[in-house]
């Protein structure tokens, strides 16, 4: 099959969604649903927009998109409730 290239090196939006960066880091962010108040501070600080506060039946809390989370730890450091923990991925546990 022929390679398709866009005229003038242009690029349609949202192409970066194809580029999953979740396997980059050695750590992942984990949200403690009980502690999370859904204040959305993490949402604003995440450089990759991959943590989002979602409404659930009982309460709202932050959810991490592991397809893109690089494990930078910014969310964990800004969380006022201490509800986000950075954990080493299974592969790197010694």
């Amino acid at each position: 099959m022929k390679l398709k290239i866009y005229l003038g090196a242009s690029c349609p939006p949202l192409q970066s969604l194809e580029y999953k960066t979740g396997d980059w880091g050695t750590m992942h962010a984990f949200v403690d649903k009980e502690k999370c108040t859904g204040c959305k501070i993490c949402e604003q600080y995440c450089p990759d927009l991959c943590i989002e506060v979602k409404e659930f039946e009982d309460k709202k809390h932050a959810v991490v998109d592991y397809n893109y989370c690089k494990g930078c730890g910014v969310c964990a450091s800004v969380c006022p409730q201490g509800a986000i923990k950075m954990e080493l991925k299974e592969l790197f546990k010694v």
Binding site: K2, L3, Y6, L7, A9
Partner: protein
């Protein structure tokens, strides 16, 4: 002393030994570490009697170089790609003002699409500027080129800017053994810069003046004559360097297997791999030789005519394109050989934007030329079939 260093350091070390008075640059990949190393040397006090100026752009950097050089300083900068073409307005001036500025160009592709990788397109933009260009094959040659560049540029028969072109990433980022020069060697080879004219209150001059149609052309002819004189000056200084340093890089061109029927012509770091390819193909019984073009400006027309007079097939590997025509190196070579050779030309444009050129790929092309599978002409090699679509 032989040491494993990066291409960046090989250049920076050599620049230090040339004792420039002003270094001015703006960072751009893959040049950055050259000026980083120089900045570190400057901060450590290793660069005596030197001013390191950080500029706000390449245009600014080149302008500062012109000012400093006009004031009689030995100057240095390094840049590439977009940076070099941003400098181009100033560099055309520098050549016209006959300022012996030395620049290391870490060859990189031009945008768009944005690419930080290596090809020779940026050098070709400055082809007609009146700047001497020397293409190097490895980091040792880049290291050795800087003192020679100063000596040639500052020769009073020449007085033109000099650009040392080294392939970005392929050379700059490579760690390899380099025999680092001693200060005494460079001191003995390169005398302190004695400008013919410079800005001083004792004997005021204005430089780079305005010329009416009645006078402009003479200045440009003078530049051409200086370039012509540069040919013999370069050859002399290349030889002198071989004696002083014990490393003979050859003259304007280097010819391997001069009696060959088929010749491969290339510039830059690709030449190294081509040596290997040519040697291997000769073992297969293909009568192929190699020409490495070192000096691209002034173009060594006479040397090439002599070397290629008996060639039957000439294969040119170009690392840039003159869109609407073909590869600039091939254009130059054809023009140089007009009426001097009846050889068939096989002009190939390869390795744009850092596209890798594996050994088998190059050997395959040359083999096809030798076997008559390839027809003479111009072609891009090593790209995928594609179609252009609207997003």
């Amino acid at each position: 002393m032989k040491k494993v260093v990066r291409g960046f350091y090989a250049v920076a070390h050599s620049v230090k030994l040339c004792k420039p008075h002003v270094i001015c640059a703006y960072p751009i990949t893959p040049q950055t570490e050259i000026v980083e190393n120089l900045a570190e040397m400057y901060a450590n006090g290793e660069l005596k009697n030197c001013e390191y100026i950080t500029a706000e752009s390449e245009f600014g950097a080149a302008s500062i170089l012109v000012g400093a050089s006009a004031a009689g300083a030995r100057v240095f900068s390094a840049t590439c790609s977009q940076g070099l073409i941003l400098m181009s307005e100033v560099l055309f001036n520098a050549a016209g003002m006959r300022l012996p500025i030395v620049i290391v160009n870490t060859n990189r592709a031009l945008s768009a699409p944005l690419s930080i990788w290596n090809d020779h397109q940026d050098s070709m933009v400055l082809r007609d500027a009146g700047i001497m260009q020397l293409f190097v094959e490895n980091n040792q040659e880049a290291h050795d080129a800087v003192p020679q560049a100063y000596k040639i540029a500052e020769d009073k028969r020449v007085l033109l800017p000099f650009m040392v072109c080294m392939d970005g990433f392929k050379l700059t980022h490579a760690y390899e053994p380099v025999d680092l020069l001693e200060e005494e060697v460079v001191d003995a080879f390169l005398p302190p810069y004695q400008p013919q004219i410079y800005l001083t209150t004792k004997k005021p001059v204005a430089m780079g003046c305005y010329a009416l149609p009645a006078y402009y052309m003479e200045f440009r002819v003078a530049m051409q004559q200086a370039m012509e004189r540069a040919k013999s000056v370069m050859e002399k200084i290349y030889k002198e360097w071989a004696e002083v340093s014990g490393r003979d890089w050859g003259g304007h061109i280097v010819v391997e297997y001069p009696d060959a029927k088929i010749f491969v012509v290339a510039m830059g770091s690709l030449v190294g791999l081509l040596r290997k390819v040519v040697n291997d193909l000769r073992k297969e019984g293909i009568d192929v030789g190699l020409i490495k073009i070192r000096t691209f400006r002034p173009f060594p027309v006479e040397n090439l005519r002599k070397a290629l007079s008996n060639a039957e097939k000439i294969v040119v590997f170009d690392r840039s394109v003159s869109f609407g025509y073909e590869g600039p190196l091939s254009i130059e070579l054809k023009s140089a050989l007009y009426k001097y050779s009846s050889a068939d030309f096989y002009s190939y444009i390869v390795g744009l934007g850092g596209r890798d050129m594996p050994k088998d790929f190059l050997a395959g092309i040359i083999r096809d030329v030798a076997n008559g599978k390839e027809k003479p002409g111009v072609a891009f090699k090593g790209y995928k079939e594609f179609e252009e679509v609207i997003p």
